[in-house]
Symmetry: none
Subunit: 227 residues, 2 copies
DNA sequence: TTTTTCTTTATAAAATCTTTATACACTTGG
DNA sequence: CCAAGTGTATAAAGATTTTATAAAGAAAAA
């Protein structure tokens, strides 16, 4: 999910359409403007994360629009223009444009330049954290917290917990768990499972004697419940 | 008065000469390197305000050099290349390049793009100093201080620390660290890692016997915590 | 050369896994 | 009701793996 918003200011409807399709299929949220005036108003009302600006607008000079935008807009502006003269490029860049692409442009390159411009400008993304009441699991950081304190889990304990979390609510049989975590040769070692279930409960349950998260389904296996 | 320093990494002597003259007449201070290796060393010893990198170096792939630089170098990198394929451009930009100019380029445009890159960098932030209690790490200056005293770290030790700092809080597996720092052929040399972790701890931890920053996750890897 | 850094080997310590032992809960048939 | 059988929980000892550290030899840099 990207959800960065991009404002396209261009008078050619086919270009706007192309950009909208291209950008939206890359998870950007797109708004459009066909004139300089419309562009300025849209940018002011809903400041986007990046602006794609055509220099050849009908109602105002593109360079002037750029200057006006830069009075207050600090995020990236990329120029798209049929003008390839050095004079135009230098002027646009010195007026505060972050990049300048000559039309017709290659969409892959445009997307890469957009990524480059947005990079670092975006707020830091957090990892997907699974929340189970007092229990929090960050799979990408391999961190498990209980009441906001980090719990140390061994490799096997963590593998077990992951199996449970990824199959929340489902009953996992002894055989299944043993095969997935220890390997196919261990499907009869139910005792292993009991030992590690006990250890896991001691670490993640508030009261290990009355487990809430890891419920035993006698004769079948165990089930993990989030709340 | 400009006084921003620019490092030119290019194997063609006439290009280097041209750039030197052009840049110096625009009040930039220029350093040069003819090979990837030389470029990396120069960049590390005297980090410039901007790097102009040619992708077609004789001793290493330009994309690889770019990746290596981006491990620690946070200021702008502009690619100069005879390669004009979309694939090369997209790859370079996604590897952390700020801009990409195809040779032969127009000097006026290059200067404008340099101004644009430096401008955006200055407005954003200064030296990104990471503060971890008694420990301070300046990635762009490659300086590590503990209790305000500079600590000498070897190349490998520093690379390790960078990996940790950039992934603060996350568990980095042995395989990952070995692959990133020593290369794919070393993923089984866990002992290397242990030796260097011990050395790093001796240098950055208050009490190496009770490490606070570099926490070992037995059977998995290590985790860096800033506190 | 001398110095620094990296690689390799050796060994002690720590952490984890496996195994054994025992206790508990629950069901079922006498 | 009890006693035997089945399935589960937990502690703790023993075995194994993993880790920490020193130190010596090799390679690279100054």
């Amino acid at each position: 999910m990207n959800s960065a918003t991009i404002l396209v200011i261009d008078d050619e409807v086919q270009i706007r359409k192309l950009l909208q399709i291209t950008l939206e299929s890359n998870d950007y949220s797109v708004t459009q403007a066909a004139t300089a005036k419309e562009g300025m108003i849209t940018a002011a009302n809903h400041p986007p994360d990046l602006i794609l600006l055509d220099l050849g607008l009908p109602d105002d000079s593109g360079h002037h629009v750029l200057q006006q935008l830069r009075e207050w807009y600090t995020k990236p502006i990329i120029i798209l223009s049929v003008q390839s003269s050095e004079e135009d490029i230098v002027k646009a860049l010195d007026n505060g444009a972050n990049d300048y692409l000559v039309k017709p442009f290659r969409t892959g390159e445009l997307l890469a330049r957009i990524r480059s411009a947005i990079r670092g400008n975006l707020s830091e993304e957090n990892d997907p954290v699974i929340d189970c009441g007092s229990l929090q699991i960050d799979l990408s950081a391999r961190i498990v917290k209980k009441n906001n304190e980090i719990i140390k889990l061994t490799t096997t304990e963590y593998a077990l917990l992951c199996m449970f979390v990824k199959n929340e609510g489902k009953v996992l049989t002894h055989h299944y768990l043993l095969r997935e975590i220890w390997g196919p040769g261990y499907i009869n070692q139910s005792q292993y499972l009991r030992v590690f279930i006990a250890q896991l409960r001691k670490k993640i349950e508030d009261d290990a004697n009355r487990p809430v998260h890891i419920v035993t389904e006698s004769g079948v296996g165990y089930r993990f419940v989030a709340t």
